[in-house]
């Protein structure tokens, strides 16, 4: 086996087995910190040994066994130092053994623990990327533009709280599952959005590593919970959004709006997969949640070969459905954008002017307003709105686009 093959085997094992190894060890030792450290050591051992010894026939089994030995070594060392803590090292898994249902996967327990509502939202994101995604602390720190030490402390504090407050390592009860699952999906959607519209003056406008990671983790959840409509919806939404990524930023680094994108460069296979999921959900006949509706809206957009062929009445109808579910001002804003295409910019402007109090600090609100005012020929007002949007936007490609648009006003 060539060095490159071994390297690929290690990369693949990391992608496929990291969460499983951390989850198995957390279950066995009842301690996320022990599990994380031992998993990292096991992968380091693989990097050192596999090139000479060869890739083991069952890489996942090898990694779990190696990590288990590392964990036991660590616990022995600590035991010698603090004999009194011996008891604490025993697994505090005093639940009666649960019947192994279809969703009884260790990784699912891990995800629910990392996304526990008692942790701050940004901590849930960091912990999920570390424990489930296998990203390193420096990688996560870079992704969210915070210092490595800060991110390290955030994760350390979270692990300490999970242990001290005894946040359980289990899949929530059927009664709590919908709420808790929507918390997990929110974390994944946040990771995806940060990749799709990255914030910060020094960062790339789109960060495919983050969108890819979010999709990978959502796929994992879909494998574990194949019958959940919102999981399918979120996956479809991500795929149909990701499919447009190649057309999203121009060669000069400007954001390209949906109507101006080169649809030929969209990823056809991602679109096909997304459409398949949306059709599957429609066929189920079950009432859709917000991710399923958002996915359906994106399916309408990605079905049009040309922006002019977009079925706007269908888009507005879907937004009407979404507003009933989630009457938030951001949804109302997006609905107004579709209304502008159907009923004209004047109607849309009247709608969004009512959102001013709630969305005054939201860049997309001012960008939308600027565009509507431009279409209505109200140049002065449009320029002021572009200025406000440029000040509030944190994305370099969006700023470049808005600046050009403002400068084109006459």
């Amino acid at each position: 086996m060539s060095a490159i093959d071994v390297q690929e085997a290690i990369t693949r094992a990391h992608r496929e087995e990291w969460a499983r190894v951390v989850a198995a060890l957390t279950k066995r030792f009842g301690d996320l910190d022990v599990a994380e450290e031992a998993a990292a050591e096991a992968f380091a051992t693989a990097v050192a040994r596999w090139p000479a010894d060869g890739v083991p026939p069952n890489p996942g089994g090898w990694l779990t066994t190696t990590a288990t030995h590392k964990a036991i070594d660590r616990l022995r060392r600590e035991n010698k130092r603090h004999d009194k803590q011996k008891e604490a090292l025993l697994v505090h898994d005093d639940d009666p053994p649960e019947p192994a249902g279809p969703i009884d996967d260790e990784r699912l327990r891990l995800i629910f623990t990392c996304c526990h509502p008692a942790l701050a939202p940004r901590t849930r994101v960091a912990l999920t990327l570390r424990m489930v995604g296998g990203l390193t602390v420096p990688e996560i720190a870079r992704a969210f533009l915070v210092r490595e030490t800060t991110m390290g402390q955030r994760i350390t504090r979270a692990k300490a709280k999970i242990k001290a407050a005894r946040i359980p390592y289990r899949v929530p009860s059927a009664e709590d599952l919908p709420t808790r699952l929507s918390g997990v999906l929110a974390v994944l959607f946040l990771v995806f959005n940060e990749g799709y519209l990255a914030t910060g003056p020094d960062t790339d406008p789109v960060r495919p590593a983050l969108t890819a990671e979010a999709i990978r983790l959502t796929r994992l959840i879909r494998t574990l919970l194949p019958d959940d409509g919102e999981v399918a919806g979120l996956l479809a939404l991500m795929l149909l959004t990701e499919a447009r990524r190649p057309a999203r930023v121009s060669s000069t680094g400007e954001l390209v709006t949906l109507s101006e994108q080169d649809r030929g460069s969209w990823d056809a296979s991602l679109i096909a997969e997304g459409h398949r999921l949306v059709r599957e959900r429609l066929a189920s006949g079950a009432a859709p949640g917000r991710y399923q509706i958002l996915a359906a809206i994106n399916a309408v957009h990605t079905s049009a070969r040309d922006a002019r062929d977009t079925d706007w009445s269908q888009v507005v109808a879907l937004y009407d459905q979404l507003v009933r579910l989630d009457p938030s001002p951001v949804i109302a804003l997006n609905r107004a954008i579709a209304v502008a295409e159907l009923d004209g910019p004047e109607v849309a402007l009247a709608t969004i002017d009512r959102l001013n109090d709630e969305l005054a600090e939201y860049h997309a609100y001012h960008a939308t307003r600027a565009d509507l005012l431009r279409r209505l020929g109200r140049t002065q007002d449009s320029r002021a709105a572009y200025d406000k949007a440029i000040t509030l936007s944190g994305n370099t490609a969006e700023t470049a686009y808005l600046t050009r648009r403002r400068n084109q006003l006459n």
Binding site: D94, H116, P117, A118, A164, A165, I167, P172, D176
Partner: protein
């Protein structure tokens, strides 16, 4: 495992009869289900006295150790197997006493 459920409030008025009745019923349930350890309501913060005797010369000060808009108005100590159970009980407790609560684990050996 035990958790301290602190009741947080920003006014010194006492619980209404309806709130008292709801808390009593909730306490009885905690006892029946084996979660009960202790519970108490506290007098207003300005009835507090702080003592610092760390160096052997007790310094006595009138008033709470921390002046703040919100303060500890009472507490439960509950027994729960994990944080999910503790949070569920605290969520009910907050509803019954009609005040905000904080859940904090009590250190154990």
């Amino acid at each position: 495992m035990q958790y301290l459920v602190s009741v947080i409030y920003d006014r010194t008025d006492l619980a209404t009869p309806a709130e008292m009745a709801a808390v009593d019923a909730f306490n009885e349930r905690l006892q029946a289900e084996g979660h009960w350890v202790f519970a108490a309501g506290l007098a207003a913060p300005d009835t507090a006295t702080v003592i610092d005797n760390r160096n052997g010369e007790a310094l006595v000060t009138d008033g709470p150790f921390l002046e703040s808009k919100e303060f500890l108005a009472g507490f439960w100590i509950i027994e729960a197997p994990d944080l999910d159970v503790a949070l569920r009980l605290a969520t009910e407790g907050s509803k019954h006493c009609n005040r905000k609560v904080e859940v904090r684990p009590i250190l154990s050996e």
